[in-house]
């Protein structure tokens, strides 16, 4: 069978959404999709090197660089969920209920409360950096700012252990909630949206890249059928959907 390599992030894979979608895609198009779940940076790098045919990522700024360099084409908005700031119920910095993520991080920095960062160039980490940048504050090097350099689940564990604050995607937090003491403190700010794009690697840059298959996959992800599935996914398990379908919308509409 024809083969298509999809490079995506571990957090995407971990939700299980792809396990539902990919068999459908194979049935429709005959492509056997190999999902390589790696860090966001690695996923983008694999695309840039021509080692993948399509990418599904959540780091818009980095993705735009590849679009500009022509390494990827046909980039389309697929869905979003959101990031939240979690922390111990005691909330030593007192950020509970803040509407603005920026204000919350500032308060945390000012009170030098322990904050655990993924610090691994993942989509989540890039989002966190975006907020710090808005504050024009460089947290790295402070004793209260722990740089974990590891996956989301492990980072949450560290935060739980240190009773620290942490920026996390809601999906991972929900799946681990039962065994964490951490609670959601800040949510709903537009900047905290976690936006997923699908894009195909430019077949003109590398001979080996599977062009038609990539195109088909992008089409598939933004198709109505798939978008409907996305809107339902996770309700049975968590009581609320894990993602919100966004095909056809623009970034401005999402407020990101």
């Amino acid at each position: 069978p024809m083969e298509l390599i999809l490079a995506t992030t571990t957090s995407t894979r971990d939700t299980g959404l792809l396990d539902v979608l990919l068999p459908m895609f194979q049935e429709k198009t005959g492509y056997n999709v190999k999902t390589i779940a790696v860090g966001t940076g690695a996923a983008l790098a694999l695309g840039e090197k021509g080692e993948a045919d399509v990418l599904l990522c959540h780091a818009p700024a980095s993705e735009m660089k590849l679009v500009e360099s022509g390494d990827v084409i046909n980039r389309q908005l697929v869905m979003h969920n959101d990031f939240v700031i979690v922390g111990s119920p005691e909330d030593p910095a007192g950020v509970k209920g803040f509407k603005s993520a920026t204000d919350a991080l500032k308060k945390i920095a000012d009170s030098e409360a322990v904050f655990v960062s993924r610090a691994d160039d993942s989509g989540t980490h890039k989002k966190e950096k975006e907020v710090w940048n808005k504050l024009q504050f460089q947290p790295s090097g402070n004793a209260w700012y722990l740089e974990a350099g590891t996956g989301m689940a492990n980072t949450l564990n560290i935060a739980n252990e240190k009773l620290a604050y942490c920026l996390t995607d809601r999906g991972t937090y929900l799946s681990m909630k039962d065994r964490l003491d951490l609670v959601v403190l800040v949510e709903g700010d537009a900047i905290l949206l976690n936006i997923y794009h699908v894009m195909q690697v430019n077949p003109e840059k590398h001979k080996v890249v599977e062009g038609p298959g990539g195109e088909a996959f992008v089409e598939f992800m933004v198709s109505e059928e798939v978008q409907a599935i996305i809107s339902e996914f996770g309700i049975d398990k968590y009581g609320s959907p894990l993602f919100f379908p966004d095909a056809g919308k623009s970034m401005e509409e999402l407020g990101g």
Partner: protein
């Protein structure tokens, strides 16, 4: 501690129920690591024996390299193997990346120095008189090799078991070159590490119990041969 109880219950449930996916994953684990172990034993045991007989000065240097090879990080091996096997790499045309074959290759690279190094140490510890006596009875080089391996079988089998243990337990390389593809290259370690990254610790423990169980069965049978005197 609840996690442990949960994991153990889950492990039994999986095994008793004969969960098809878990069985398939366990079977692939055995196939990939077993094959890698067999290949490294086929190369490493004679090689280690030959090296231990080699009285040249270069031996110490080579021993140093082999012993360093015992400490090759799986992620690194995975990365190097990837560089060769990637579609755009020198062996890309073979299209081996993200297949069980690629995993066998990476695991062989990991197990080979372990098997070689320990065979070298074990055979090197034999009384040199055995070598002289066998040669004096007319042993050819290959016959000598076979005899010495048999005499040092306690160490040689430990070497093979360590090689198997190493590759069946490693995750970095399998993840890199296999990609943890469901139904294709997912093995017990990559599955465990995925469950850990999902935060499903209970299920991860269940998988790890299955893995350790398999290792125990294999190594207990090898130990049986080893300790048979």
């Amino acid at each position: 501690m609840d996690l442990i109880a949960e994991g153990i219950t889950e492990a039994f449930r999986l095994l008793l129920k004969g969960d098809r996916e878990v069985l398939r994953i366990a079977f692939l684990t055995l196939r990939v690591s077993g094959l890698a172990t067999i290949i490294s034993a086929a190369i490493g045991v004679p090689l280690g024996t030959a090296l231990s007989l080699w009285s040249h000065r270069g031996r110490r240097r080579i021993a140093g390299f082999v012993n360093t090879g015992m400490g090759l990080p799986p992620v690194v091996v995975g990365l190097w193997v990837s560089i060769f096997l990637w579609r755009t790499g020198p062996l890309g045309f073979l299209r081996l990346m993200y297949t069980p074959t690629a995993m066998v290759i990476a695991q062989t690279v990991i197990a080979l120095p372990i098997v070689t190094g320990f065979t070298m140490a074990g055979v090197g510890q034999l009384d040199p008189g055995i070598r002289l006596q066998m040669l004096s009875l007319g042993a050819s080089s290959w016959q000598l090799l076979r005899i010495l391996i048999r005499e040092a079988r306690l160490s040689v089998l430990a070497a093979v078991m360590a090689g198997f243990g190493r590759v069946v337990a490693e995750v970095g390389a399998s993840m890199m070159v296999g990609g943890n593809l469901l139904g294709q290259t997912r093995v017990l370690t990559t599955a465990t590490s995925m469950e850990v990254s999902k935060g499903n610790f209970g299920f991860a423990i269940a998988l790890s119990i299955v893995l350790v169980g398999i290792t125990y069965i294999i190594n207990a049978s090898l130990t049986r041969i080893q300790q048979q005197g």
